[in-house]
Symmetry: C2
Subunit: 337 residues, 2 copies
DNA sequence: CTGAAAGCGCTTACAG
DNA sequence: CTGAAAGCGCTTACAG
C-alpha cells in the first residue's frame, strides 16, 4: 500500500515510466547516466513496485500455492521448511492453505489459488478422490487452473502430474521383515482404511513381507482407522486388550504412533518390554530422551525441497517429460525390536 | 491463469462488463432476470475473477502476510493453525514467510510483503531489534508498508502496534514458586541470553519468585543460550556436571526442554528421580507416553486466532485504540515436581 | 436497471 | 537510448 508508484519515480527522475520500468527489470537499454539517476531515486524513496500490477501486466506471477492437509503436524512443517529453502532462493512467494483432510476445503483452496493467479502449486490432496466422479472433477479443476502442479506424499494416481513420494511399500516391507528376523511372528498393524492409497501401499508391503517369510497374515491383528491419534488410540486399546495379542505392532504415521503409545502407557505397559513397536516417521522428542522406539524415517524436508525444485523446473520447461521422484525410507533403531 | 475474463462472461451473457461485475459483487442494482442469466453463465464456465485485477482496481487486497521465525517448530505450527481458522472464515489469503531467526530475512520478508500488497501482517520478529538504530530502521520499514501489523509472541516493544503475547513473567514466577513449595531451593534455569525480551521477562519472573521466598539467586545455576535445542543441550551438560547442581531446572521453550532432556538421558539419568524439570510449552508426545514432565502451557492456537482477529478488527477500524492481549499460561503437572 | 469510459500500476511493442 | 500509447482484468463514478 505504499503510495509511491512508478509514475512518481519517473517524474522525480525526469524520465518516462517506460524508462523506470526498464531499469528496474534490466531490460532494453538505458544510458548509464539515466540508469543511475533512476536508481538513486528508487533508493531514496525506497520504491518497491507493485507485484500485483506487474503480474497483471505480464500475465505471470511469482506466487506459488502450497496446500497441505494439516500444518500442525511436524511432518508438513518440515516439508514447508524444505519448500521455503528453495522458493526463497528463487524469489518465489508462498500462498498457504491447509485443508484439514477435508475434500470441500481442498477444492476451495484450489479455487482460491486460481483466483490469486499462482504460477504453480505444491499439493498434498486432502483425500484420495477414490470415487471416479470426484476424481474426474478434481482433474477438471486442476486443468482449469492450468498451472504446473506437483503432488507431494499422497500418490492418488494423477499420472499426468509430477510428484514426489516416499517408498512406503518398501518401508513397510523392510520394517516387517526386520521384525520377523527378530523373531516376531504375531505382528499387528494399525493402518488407515484401505480406501487410501498410502494405506494400501503400506498394507501391501506388510502382507508381502509376511508371506515371503511364510507367515499367514492374521486379520485379527490388523486395525484400520485414519491418520489421527485419537482413532489410533481407540484401535490400540482394542488391540492391546486382545487375549492373544501381537508381540510387535506397526503404525502408519507419527500421529498413530502417538495414539498407540498413549493406549500402551495407560495400561502401565511400556516399549519394548511389553510390546515392540515400529513407528512411521521419526518423533524427534522420543529420540532425544532415548525412548526405545524403532521407526521408519522419512525425510520430509528433502521432500519439500525436491517438490519445489520439480515445480520450478516444470515452470521453466512446461513440456519436459513427467517426473515422479520416489524417496527412500530408512529403518532406524532395528536393534530395539 | 484461467483464460476466462469478465469480458468473456459479459459477451456470453449479452451484457456489459460492468453488469457482470455488479452481480459478482452484489453491488448496485441488477434486474433479477439479467442477474440470473449472468450467474448461470458464471457457473457454466466456472468463472473465477482474477483477484489480482480486482485488488489493483479497488486498491485493497485480501492477502495478509504471516511472518514467523521457524515453521518446523510445532509452536508456530499451532499458531498458524489458529490463524487459518480465522482467515478462512473471512476469505483472507495467507502469504507465508519464515525467517530462521535471521534479521536479514526478516527485513526481506517484510519487503516482499510490501511488494505483494498485503492488507495486513501477522508478525513474530526474528530478532529483538535491541539496537536503537536497527529498531528505528524496522519502524521505518513498518511505516513504509503502511498496513496494520499485529505482533505475536515476541514483545519487542513496538508500542504503536497491536500485539498478543503470553504472560511469560507470571508463567515463570508461578512455576518457580511451585518448585519452592515442593521443597526445592537450588533451582536452575536454562534461558536465552538477556538481550531478548522474552528471556528478560522470564528471568524476572524467576528471580522475583526466588527473592519473594527468601532465596538468594545463585548465578552459577543460571545458564544463558538461545532458543535452540543444540545450545540448550550444551548448557545442560555443563549444568548437570556441576558438583553442587540444582535439584530442579526451568527451561525456556520446547526446544530447550528437549535439549536439556537429551543431556539428561545421555547421562543415564531420568526425570523426576534424578532431577525435576519444568518445561515451557507442552510437548504433546511426552504427555502421551506419560513422561513425568511438568510444564508451563501456552495455547499457541488461541494466540493465532486472537492475532488474526485483532488484525481484522484493525483493518476495519484503523483508528481504534491499540490493543495488547496478554494470554495466561498454565502450570501443568505440578504434582510431579 | 445498464453501458461506455476512465483508472488501478505496471510492461512492452512501436516509433523515433 | 527514450517516450507515448495500448493493454493486463477488474471496478466504479457518471450518464442515460
Amino acid at each position: 500500500m505504499s503510495s509511491l508508484t512508478i509514475m512518481d519515480i519517473a517524474k522525480e527522475a525526469g524520465v518516462s515510466k517506460a524508462t523506470v520500468s526498464r531499469v528496474m527489470n534490466h531490460t532494453g537499454s538505458v544510458s548509464e547516466k539515466t540508469r543511475e539517476r533512476v536508481l538513486s531515486v528508487i533508493r531514496d524513496r525506497q520504491f518497491t513496485p507493485s507485484a500485483m500490477a506487474r503480474n497483471l501486466s505480464t500475465g505471470v506471477s511469482t506466487a506459488i500455492g502450497f496446500v497441505v492437509p494439516e500444518i500442525d503436524n511436524p511432518f508438513f512443517g518440515e516439508i514447508l521448511r524444505g519448500v521455503m529453502e528453495i522458493t526463497d532462493e528463487n524469489g518465489l512467494t508462498l500462498i498457504f492453505y491447509t485443508t484439514d483432510d477435508d475434500a470441500e476445503k481442498d477444492r476451495k483452496a484450489l479455487h482460491l489459488l486460481e483466483n490469486n493467479q499462482v504460477c504453480g502449486i505444491l499439493y498434498t490432496p486432502a483425500v484420495d478422490y477414490g470415487d471416479p466422479a470426484e476424481r474426474k472433477e478434481l482433474r477438471k479443476i486442476l486443468k482449469e487452473i492450468n498451472v504446473p502442479v506437483v503432488v507431494m506424499d499422497r500418490n492418488i494416481g494423477l499420472e499426468e502430474l509430477d510428484g514426489v513420494y516416499f517408498d512406503d511399500y518398501h518401508g513397510m516391507y523392510d520394517a516387517t521383515e526386520q521384525l520377523i528376523r527378530n523373531g516376531h511372528t504375531r505382528i499387528g498393524i494399525i493402518n488407515a482404511t484401505l480406501d487410501r492409497v498410502l494405506a494400501r501401499e503400506r498394507q501391501r508391503g506388510f502382507l508381502d513381507a509376511l508371506r515371503q517369510h511364510g507367515i499367514e497374515p492374521d486379520e485379527s491383528l490388523m486395525y484400520f482407522g485414519n491418520f489421527r491419534a485419537t482413532k489410533a488410540y481407540e484401535l490400540a486399546k482394542e488391540l492391546l486388550a486382545q487375549k492373544n495379542r501381537p508381540t510387535a505392532v506397526l503404525t502408519c504415521n507419527n500421529r498413530t504412533t502417538i495414539g498407540f503409545l498413549r493406549a500402551l502407557h495407560e495400561r502401565g505397559e511400556a516399549v519394548p518390554d511389553d510390546i515392540t513397536v515400529v513407528g512411521l516417521d521419526r518423533i524427534e522428542v522420543l529420540d532425544t530422551i532415548g525412548y526405545p522406539l524403532c521407526f521408519i524415517e522419512r525425510d520430509a524436508r528433502s521432500m519439500g525441497r525436491k517438490a519445489a525444485k520439480l515445480l520450478i523446473s516444470r515452470m521453466k520447461f512446461p513440456d519436459r517429460p513427467r517426473i515422479e521422484v520416489v524417496l527412500d525410507t530408512k529403518l532406524i533403531g532395528q536393534e530395539l525390536s
